[in-house]
């Protein structure tokens, strides 16, 4: 009998692996509205369709929008230090796109809003030898890179708002990156610094094995639906 319970659970687990993806998708239809209207955050305990919060540093400074500074420098004609108000004063772009993590979870239809990275780079006057952009987090550890062509795409934002509000601290606020066509590890949180450089250098997770070109569905051995 004990053995039967053990084997039964193992079988349940195996069936779950086979159909879990569909079950989760179906369950998301029910839980998604719940999550939106749940002030307690308890709905976030339900697996699937939820954000997980990945932080690699032991401690991330809590920065208020009023104190926020974004340093933009490197191979540019005009190095800049921008405040939150400076970024807010620039043209804002709205996008509603999924957020896909390379570990498999996906949050659908997330509203994003912020300054196009392309617009920001236009302000600075990137020099011809600038071939890549490196981003650094003010958590002191995390970094990421894009080629200059990737950085100029329309769906790459320096995000000030997500989920219909200012970017919260846990989601990387006050300002984070959102690279829509790539896996989540490209969308660096707690953006503190942008540097134009001559070549791409692998980011924090990329030094630990993930692909540098992180296209959703075409990298990391995954075939997710592109965003």
């Amino acid at each position: 009998m004990g053995r039967r319970v053990v084997l039964g659970l193992a079988a349940l687990g195996a069936i779950g692996v086979a159909v879990g993806a569909d079950v989760e998708r179906a369950a998301n239809k029910v839980t998604a509205p719940l999550r939106k209207r749940d002030p307690t955050g308890l709905a976030d305990l339900i697996p699937g369709g939820r954000f997980e919060i990945y932080s690699v540093a032991s401690n991330v400074p809590w920065v208020k929008a009023a104190d926020y500074r974004l340093k933009v420098h490197g191979l540019v004609d005009v190095p800049l230090t921008l405040s939150y108000a400076d970024l807010e004063a620039m043209p804002q772009t709205q996008l509603t796109r999924d957020f896909q993590c390379v570990t498999g979870w996906r949050v659908t239809d997330v509203p994003w809003s912020g300054v196009r990275l392309a617009d920001l780079l236009g302000l600075l006057g990137a020099r011809p030898e600038a071939r890549a952009v490196t981003f650094r987090s003010f958590d002191g550890l995390y970094d990421e890179s894009l080629t200059i062509e990737q950085a100029r795409r329309d769906d790459v934002l320096v995000a000030l708002r997500m989920l219909d509000g200012p970017v919260s601290h846990e989601h990387g606020g006050p300002v984070r990156l959102y690279v829509a066509p790539m896996y989540g590890y490209k969308s660096l949180k707690w953006l503190g610094e942008i540097e134009l450089v001559d070549k791409v250098s692998p980011g924090w997770w990329e030094r630990r094995g993930y692909d540098v070109d992180a296209w959703i569905g075409k990298s990391n051995g995954r075939d997710d639906e592109p965003v």
């Binding site: 009998m1 004990g2 692996v17 086979a18 932080s55 690699v56 498999g104 846990e170």
Partner: protein
């Protein structure tokens, strides 16, 4: 002899025969339980850090926490597998695996709803144990046991057996789904199965979290049961009350104590 006295006596200097107490767990079982508890606790704590946003942010260091979770997970079945070399542990597993008619009655008594409840109500039996027509038996007096292994199956109650089986089964699931999650990319396992494995891993984790809470709750209410796992000995009166069908056998390796006279059994 009072319990508080014995707790301070170290295992090695323990008198071989202890008045009013009987041997419940040998060192093999106690160490398997201890090490499994530490590893399971590590898995659950790191899982909470990885899964719950406020904890993720508070602790950070995701790469380190992932590594700890991973290795604690791999190590989880090791104590039980090594413990298999110890006769006493194997015997306890056999006890946990044997469901008897008395276990059926135990579960029917405690089932709040459903067919077992209706069966019980129809039978008109009061919700107390045992429901079988048995004369009160003490440990050492096997009740309606299978003839092949007389006396096996009375050491634990049905709830403990189910809990042990659920933990063992969950361990298999955690290990299997965890391997799919971790090596999925290298083994080119299709995304849908990796997503399924993650979903099941998360779901079982939430389930086992509440099961472990229940386990703590039961243990908190029963100091004698805790003493059994800490010292290896339980009071005879406790054994007679909690596990009347338990038939302890003299264990050569565990000391010379034999089942004592159970004249005080209910």
């Amino acid at each position: 002899m009072s319990l508080s006295n014995e707790r301070s006596v170290s295992d090695e200097r323990r008198p071989a025969a202890r008045h009013g107490e009987i041997r419940r767990f040998g060192p093999g079982t106690r160490w398997v339980h201890r090490l499994t508890a530490v590893l399971f606790g590590t898995c659950l704590a790191t899982a909470a850090i990885l899964y719950l946003p406020p904890l993720s942010l508070m602790v950070g260091r995701r790469a380190l926490v992932m590594t700890i979770h991973l290795y604690a997970g791999y190590a989880l079945p090791v104590p039980a597998l090594v413990g298999w070399l110890v006769t006493g542990f194997r015997r306890d597993v056999t006890e946990l695996n044997r469901f008897t008619a008395a276990d059926g009655a135990w579960l029917r008594d405690r089932s709040p709803v459903g067919p077992p409840r209706r069966h019980r109500d129809r039978a008109g039996t009061p919700p107390t144990e045992p429901t079988e027509p048995t004369e009160p038996t003490g440990p050492g007096q096997p009740g309606e046991q299978p003839a092949d292994q007389p006396g096996v199956g009375g050491k634990f109650n049905a709830g403990q057996k189910l809990y042990a089986a659920a933990v063992a089964g969950s361990m298999v699931v955690f290990l299997g789904t965890g391997l799919v999650m971790w090596f999925g990319a290298d083994l080119r396992i299709p995304d849908r199965y990796r997503t399924g494995a993650t979903f099941i891993h998360d779901l079982f984790a939430i389930g086992i979290f509440f099961a472990v809470l229940g386990h703590f709750w039961m243990a908190l209410r029963d100091p004698e049961a805790r003493a059994g796992l800490r010292t290896g000995y339980v009071p005879t009166w406790w054994a007679a009350t909690e596990h009347p069908r338990w038939a302890p056998r003299p264990e050569r390796s565990d000391g010379p104590e034999a089942p004592e006279p159970r004249s005080e059994a209910p």
